[in-house]
Amino acid sequence: MASSLGELERQLRSISHSEEAIQAVQAFSNGLAGTNGRLQVWNAVNAIVRKPIDYGDTSALRFDTPDDRFSVLQGDIVQTEAAYFYGERIAGMPKFAVLNSSCDLVPGRTAHASLLRILPIQKGEERAKEKLGTLLKFSRRDSMYLPALPDDTEDVVGNGISFEGICQIRSSDLFLANRAASLSVVGWRIFASFVRTVMARANPREVELRMAVE
C-alpha cells in the first residue's frame, strides 16, 4: 500500500494509462496471415461476436440471482431509432455498441445509457478494401473491427465500432432495442481494451509536461 501521494502516483504509473491491452490485440492480429488470414480468424462465430446472450439461457445455468438479471450487456450490438447524436435522433435502423458496463444496465439503476456508433463498410464504397484492411489490423485507437453481422445487408463486408463521439439513449428505450449480437468473451475483452485506451491514454510528452508543472 502506498504511504504517500508520490508513491501512489508511481504505483499507478504503469497501470492507469497503460496501452498494453490494445497493443496485445494489435500484435496478435499482425501475426495473422494478411487480410485473408485475419478475416478467417476474426469472422468466425464466437471470435468477436456471438448470438445475443439471453437471460433465459444464463438463468438456466444458475446465474439467476436478482443481480444476474439483464436485458442488455456491455458491448451488445443493438439496433434502435431512439438514440441521439449532437441533438439529432438517428433514424434508419442504425447499429450501436453499448458502452456502459453491464452492471449499470440493470433496469432501474440508471436513467441514461451511452452508445457507440457502428459504421458499416460496404463493398461498393470508396476505399472499402483499405478500410477493411486497416480495421483488421487493429491499428486505430478510435475504431474496433467487427465482422459483417448476420442481419447486415449482403453488400456489407465489415463494420467498425467508432469510439469517437458518444450517442445517448434513455435506458428504458435501450431495453426495447433489437439485439443483433453480443460480444464473445475475447470480443468483450478487446472492446474493454479500446474503452480504456480511448478514455485514458497518455503520450510521454504529456507525462513530462504534467510533472514539470508540479
Binding site: 478467417q40 435522433r89 472499402a128 459483417a148
Partner: protein, 147 residues
C-alpha cells in the same frame, strides 16, 4: 447520412391478420408471422388479453417517434410554465418571456434527425499502408458469422 429538418415520415401502420386464439396462431407455424406485411399489425386475441404483433423495424420506428414526442412535450411544458407565470404576473417582462418561449418552439416545428451514421474515414497514411496488401475484395469470399 445527412441531417434533415424535413418532417420525418409518419409510420402508417396497417391492419394485419387476426388470430382469435393462441391455438390458431401456433398451428400456423412460421408462415403465420410471414402473413404480417411490412408496417402491418397482427392481432392475437388471447383469454382476456389482446396482443398486437409487428415487425421489429416498425417497432423501433415507433419507439423512435415516441422519443420525439417526449421532446415536444418538454417544449410545450416550457410554454405552459411561462403562461402560468404570465397569468400570475401579467407584466410586460413576463409577457415577453411567454412570446419568446412560444417563438422558440414555433421556430422549430420539426425535430432534427439524421439517417444512419457517417461513413468510416481513413487517413492518407492508412491508405498508403494498405498498398502492399494483395487482398482482392472483389473476389473475396468473406466469412460471416451466422448464429
Amino acid at each position: 447520412m445527412s441531417t434533415t429538418l424535413a418532417r420525418h415520415s409518419a409510420l402508417a401502420l396497417v391492419p394485419g391478420p387476426t388470430w382469435n386464439s393462441f391455438e390458431k396462431f401456433r398451428k400456423g407455424g412460421n408462415t403465420t408471422l410471414e402473413e404480417i406485411p411490412e408496417h402491418g399489425v397482427g392481432t392475437l386475441v388471447g383469454k382476456g388479453v389482446t396482443y398486437r404483433i409487428l415487425r421489429d423495424a416498425d417497432f423501433q420506428h415507433l419507439v423512435g417517434l415516441a422519443t420525439d414526442v417526449r421532446r415536444l412535450q418538454q417544449g410545450l411544458n416550457v410554454i405552459i410554465q411561462a403562461a402560468k407565470v404570465v397569468a400570475k404576473h401579467p407584466d410586460q417582462e413576463h409577457v415577453e418571456l411567454l412570446i419568446h418561449s412560444a417563438a422558440l418552439f414555433a421556430g422549430s416545428p420539426v425535430l432534427p434527425t439524421r439517417d444512419g451514421h457517417d461513413a468510416f474515414q481513413l487517413t492518407q497514411e492508412e491508405i498508403d499502408s494498405q498498398a502492399s496488401d494483395g487482398f482482392n475484395l472483389e473476389n473475396a469470399a468473406i466469412p460471416r458469422p451466422r448464429f
